[in-house]
Symmetry: C2
Subunit: 203 residues, 2 copies
């Protein structure tokens, strides 16, 4: 049976990785990876759908057992990607998608080297600045800092398999769908299954 693929969508903030991920889930046959967190549920958040909500002890135990593909601590709360549900879905032949910041993406690749890393790029630095100015939530200084950070972050693109320039959302989504489909046409670990199929038919 065919194994699913883990697609990791990452990129600088403001490039639009969240939107791309959300839109893909609407049309493609993909499962979203659910994170584990130590923070308390908010509003309508549902256990096992929004997050797996766990205690600090349980989170630490999962780390110790090597049960996370990646994790990080943000404002005293921990967030991570549990390995078992992802691997189980892949084993069932389901594709899984994971949206994550760049440090996390590289951790995932280390934990599961077969993951397919996709870097979402802003169309250009001037365009990124324009978007941030239009949003109006940051000072000019903050925007300058953000720009410099983005350029530094883009330097990690070498560790990624694919890149998508998110200029026009429709084109960016087509690119993402193209990548997902092409990955299933790659020989790699399917070679043995292919050979076995034709050999059996020839007997």
């Amino acid at each position: 049976m065919k194994t699913g693929r883990l697609f990791v969508i990452s990129g600088p903030s403001g490039a639009g990785k969240g939107t791309i991920c959300k839109e893909l889930l609407k049309t493609e046959d993909l499962d979203l990876s659910v994170s584990m967190t130590t923070r308390k549920p908010r509003g309508k958040e549902v256990e096992g759908i929004s997050y797996y909500f766990v205690s600090h002890e349980e989170f630490q135990k999962t780390i110790d057992e090597g049960g996370l593909l990646e994790w990080a601590e943000i404002y005293n709360n921990r967030y991570g990607t549990p390995k078992a549900p992802v691997l189980e879905k892949l084993r069932q032949g389901r594709d899984v998608i994971l949206e994550i910041e760049m440090k996390g993406a590289l951790q995932v690749k280390k934990s599961y080297p077969k993951s397919v890393l996709i870097f979402i790029l802003p169309p250009s630095i001037p365009e990124l600045k324009k978007r941030l100015v239009a949003r109006g939530t940051e000072t000019e200084e903050q925007i300058e800092l953000r720009t410099r950070t983005t350029i530094e972050e883009i330097k990690t693109i070498k560790d990624y398999s694919y890149f998508i320039v998110n200029d026009d959302l429709k084109t960016a989504l087509e690119d993402a769908k193209t990548i997902i489909r092409a990955e299933h046409l790659r020989v790699e670990d399917q070679a043995e299954d292919i050979i076995h199929k034709y050999e059996s038919e020839g007997k």
Copy 2:
């Protein structure tokens, strides 16, 4: 400037690689690689379009100079793929497509490791037999031999990047177009150019 890609379409005879190649050239922005041969031109064949027609001496000189991506001798005539025109097109950012039998495909990969090898598979062994019987040009014994050869040839699929099962031609062509498009979204040797673009814009 972006470098073009060399797509090598190969697979067992009867799988339909020729048709796929011909159809792709009608709709995609691709250049077909032109072979060099020592055989004489036939009918309406045009120098530089059908083939580069050369003498045995010229062919041998090109081999000696390492000027062929691959070559083979068939019934006292030699056929090969000249390296220079392919590399020149790739340098100009053009994609090049090359349809070739399997030994040649592996030679091309050795001469130009960045080439993208695509294996065209028949839908199944029973279906391949049915096609050969319908064609009516071979004896039952010949068809059996052909089937066994095909299975042996499929074992070389491990050296390929992609596979396409040519069951329905329309789907097979969509698969090929998906592969061509996805290859341009691969980071690989584009990383430096991408980083350079955003760095310059930030200055």
